[in-house]
């Protein structure tokens, strides 16, 4: 009698447990497309069964277990960080590339070629006013091309500044979110098991990994401590420490909440790329461009100074002028020289073309660190091209790796609808079987009752 009722009770509790399993399956299916969601399963525990000792058996619902794998999450974050870096770099350097156009005669290389052409033309008719004016015009064109290229680089640099600002804002926003989640975890330890909050936290962490490199340390109470660059706390417990970007110097400086310089620690994510670009890549390009502009101006001026102008006098005015203290490329321009002041002749042959020939020959002289002007410009263009090409290639590879890692994570922790469908059938059958058992037990009980009557 006692065992019959116990069996009935066991069966109904089994129905409850299977019902819960079905709930978990339903929740998995509902969240199949929710970002950051990891599939869950209801663990089942067999109750001790020994009828002689009074243990009646049955099934007990254990805890709901999440398939979340912190190892795979970390792997995805590592790829996300690398992609953030490569993607940012490829995008920004792609803006520099059009400044070094190869398809047309415009741009700096065309201007330099035309300048030397005008010297060559001057050597044929050194006293022709038109040829002299053409030298001044082409020099102005060259100076303008230098300025435009320098300006283009400066514009990309400005663009990087505003993107850095946005990125730092986004990092602080995610930091605040995580601090809020930590508050929830501390308020109630059950929140650490909450699949919804868990999904939001991991989505936020994945977003953060695209922005900067960080280390994650989990406390016992389930709260997350995030250290930027592995050292600087961004979030510890429910405290957020906002970082800031300082653009007061030509080099971007990232500061922690105390104002300490933590620039060296930020090496990954889009923020790492933004700082590398503004702090080393673009200054490198500008430096090469300035060297080229300065050497061209100095060499042309020095050669002109060796000659005499149309009136046989030593020239009093330089052709090119630039600001010695500032960048040569952005301040290069033509001084107020007049056509008759161009020194085309040599002092021993006034009216001749000796100096014009010397000027034209500068085109083939290895004057910029062992390279001609065009070669030096070509080296700069090649450097930009190599940087852009490797950044683009890197971005493609990182994208592939991220997709693969995500696929791995999805295989292990994502919701598989096939699996859920099979489980659904399994628990449906079990539910039906127990239902049938309850019916049988009910019949038996009824028979028993009838007997007692």
């Amino acid at each position: 009698m006692g065992t019959l009722f116990t069996s009935l009770l066991n069966s109904t509790s089994a129905l409850q447990v299977f019902g819960r399993s079905l709930d978990v399956i339903q929740n998995n299916i509902s969240n199949a497309n929710t970002p950051g969601y990891a599939k869950q399963s209801q663990s089942l525990i067999a109750a001790p069964f020994d009828p002689h000792a009074g243990f009646t058996g049955g099934v007990i619902a254990g805890p709901v277990i999440s398939a979340r794998s912190e190892f795979l999450e970390q792997a995805v974050r590592a790829q996300q960080e690398a992609l953030g870096f490569a993607g940012q770099k490829a995008g920004d350097l792609g803006l520099i590339e059009p400044l070094f156009d190869l398809t047309s005669d415009s741009g700096l290389s065309g201007a330099i070629n035309k300048l030397f052409d005008s010297f060559s033309q001057l050597s044929v008719s050194p006293n022709d006013a038109v040829a002299r004016q053409s030298v001044i015009d082409q020099a102005a064109q060259t100076a303008q091309s230098f300025q435009q290229t320098a300006l283009g680089i400066a514009q990309v640099s400005d663009n990087i500044v505003s993107q850095t600002r946005d990125t730092v804002t986004a990092i602080n926003r995610i930091g605040a979110q995580l601090a809020d989640f930590n508050k929830l975890f501390r308020a109630n330890s059950e929140n650490a098991e909450n699949a919804g909050i868990d999904a939001l936290v991991h989505t936020a962490l994945e977003e953060l990994s695209g922005l900067a490199n960080f280390t994650l340390v989990k406390s016992n109470d389930g709260s997350l401590n995030v250290y930027l660059g592995g050292q600087t706390p961004l979030v510890t417990g429910d405290h957020q420490f906002a970082v800031s970007a300082d653009f007061s110097s030509p080099q971007t400086v990232i500061r922690d909440s105390q104002g300490n310089d933590i620039t060296a620690q930020i090496s990954g994510g889009s923020l790492g790329a933004l700082m590398e670009e503004r702090n080393s890549v673009l200054p490198g390009y500008l430096n090469s461009l300035n060297t080229l502009a300065r050497t061209l101006a100095d060499q042309v001026n020095a050669t002109l100074a060796q000659g005499v102008d149309q009136n046989g006098a030593t020239p009093a005015v330089n052709l090119f002028t630039y600001d010695q203290a500032a960048d040569a490329a952005s301040t290069l321009r033509v001084s107020g020289i007049t056509p008759d002041q161009i020194a085309a002749a040599l002092p021993n042959a006034p009216g001749g073309n000796g100096n014009a020939i010397a000027l034209a020959q500068l085109a083939n002289a290895p004057l910029v660190q062992g390279f001609t002007f065009i070669q030096a410009y070509g080296n700069l263009g090649a450097q930009v091209g190599r940087d852009v090409a490797s950044a683009k290639q890197d971005r493609g590879q990182r994208q592939d790796l991220l997709t693969q890692t995500r696929a791995m994570r999805s295989d292990a922790t994502g919701v598989s609808l096939n699996e859920e469908a099979a489980k659904l059938l399994q628990f449906q059958q079990a539910y039906q079987a127990v239902g049938k058992l309850v019916g049988v037990l009910d019949g038996l009980t009824q028979t028993l009752m009838d007997i007692i009557q």
């Binding site: 497309n33 929710t34 970002p35 950051g36 953030g84 590339e97 059009p98 070094f100 156009d101 190869l102 398809t103 005669d105 290389s109 330099i112 070629n113 030397f116 052409d117 060559s120 033309q121 050597s123 044929v124 008719s125 050194p126 006293n127 022709d128 989505t203 994945e206 977003e207 695209g210 922005l211 889009s270 002749a345 042959a349 006034p350 009216g351 001749g352 085109a363 001609t372 065009i374 070669q375 410009y377 070509g378 080296n379 263009g381 090649a382 450097q383 930009v384 091209g385 852009v388 090409a389 683009k392 493609g396 994208q399 592939d400 997709t403 995500r406 696929a407 994570r409 999805s410 994502g414």
Partner: protein, 155 residues
């Protein structure tokens, strides 16, 4: 940065499609322009060579322009010298004629007149200019080399 909610297998498929369309775009661009390298990142190692070749081409074209101008000067100079040679031939003839005893004072005056006009022509030839440049003036190519001044007497 937005986290894509796409299934990874769909994402992989899309990545593959994107890669193919990138390659197709590039192939079409190369075919339509006839240029393999359009941006510096297309082939960074060739950039220097391309720019140097273009500079050499530019310089060669300029030299061609220079030479055609020089050729015009030389051609003109040759014509002028041929004319001058003919004039000297005539001067020689006139000198021989004037040296014979059959000449009268009036015929010698005619010869002198003709010589005077040849002198003018010779000075005119020495002042030949091409595109504003006096080709027989050496470095002082903005001035004619000789002018006629009949007030001067032979020493």
């Amino acid at each position: 940065m937005k986290i894509p909610a796409l299934d990874p297998s769909i994402q992989q498929f899309l990545d593959g499609i994107n890669q193919i369309s990138d390659r197709l775009n590039r192939a079409q661009r190369e075919v339509s322009t006839g240029l393999r390298v359009q941006q510096v990142s297309d082939d960074p190692d060739q950039v220097s060579t391309i720019l140097q070749a273009r500079a050499n081409l530019d310089a060669a074209q300029q030299i061609q322009v220079n030479l055609s101008r020089v050729k015009a000067e030389v051609d003109t100079a040759e014509q002028s010298l041929q004319s001058a040679v003919q004039l000297f031939d005539r001067v020689q003839t006139l000198g021989a004629e004037g040296a014979t005893g059959t000449q009268t004072a009036s015929s010698r005056a005619d010869l002198a007149q003709e010589l005077g006009s040849i002198l003018d022509q010779m000075v005119g030839l020495s002042g030949t200019s091409v595109a504003g440049r006096y080709i027989f003036s050496g470095d002082s190519d903005q001035q004619a080399p000789y002018t006629v001044d009949l007030s001067q007497r032979a020493p």
